[in-house]
Amino acid sequence: MEDNQWLKAQLEQLESESQDYKQKALLQATVALLLEQEKREEQLQGELDGTLWSPGNWTV
């Protein structure tokens, strides 16, 4: 997680220093994409936890 924070901060820094508008947009959207991937990961992790704890899956 800390790793991600570092990367996002670096991308934001690059965005502010870039001299090209389309590139700024790309860098901003890259940060948004990383956040979206993290959210999706959290959702799938939650779904997996829920599935593992479901009594339907307790059959031995």
Binding site: L7, Y21, A29, T51
Partner: protein
Amino acid sequence: MKTLIIVSHPTVLESGSQQFLIQSLPDDEDITLHLLEETYPNGNIDVEKEQALLREHDRVLFQFPFYWYSSPPLLKKWQDEVLTEHFAFGYRGNRLQNKEFGLVLAIGLPEKEYQTGGREGFSISELTKPYQAMAKKTGMTYLKPLTIFQFSYMTEKQKKALLIDYQQYISLEQPISLKRREEWFIKQLTKTSKETLPGEHATFVIEEAIDKIEDNRLELDELRLHLDNYDDK
């Protein structure tokens, strides 16, 4: 894939939103930008030329300000004259079949007004039915529209996000999924110019970002695999 963007606007050079979109076009994709009012200032449309243009492209986009729930008049005239029987529909009229069709709409009111109970009272999906019917009749796949609400009130951050959405709308294979967008970002980051970025550190950060996107994808696929395993039981 070749994309044809047909822009209709009575004063396209003075429109902030249209100019923004035109400036946002990706540099190296196979795109034809076709400004109707600029091409035909007298309104006399060259039907054969227009039909040839349509034949050459795989994705056709209409881009216009949403005036009175429809397009500016020249685009309607274009539809009337170019989408003829035996070309676009009817006996042997299959030239548009299996192409993709989409709308890029600049809309003056906020999104929340386009619903039952909102000031406009109808959704964009309802109000764009004639375009959906046109796509159906001509055998084209209708794409989710790209709707731009109140461009002039957008923040700089929102405009930059719009730029990317627009670029993806033009060139990304449909349906647009998270995985397809990841691939698009990796491609764009790989080729983005380092000349407009400061120092060697920039290259390192961009490579790190590409690695991170790929690592995240591996984790997402692995989680999905675990879930699918349980679903099978």
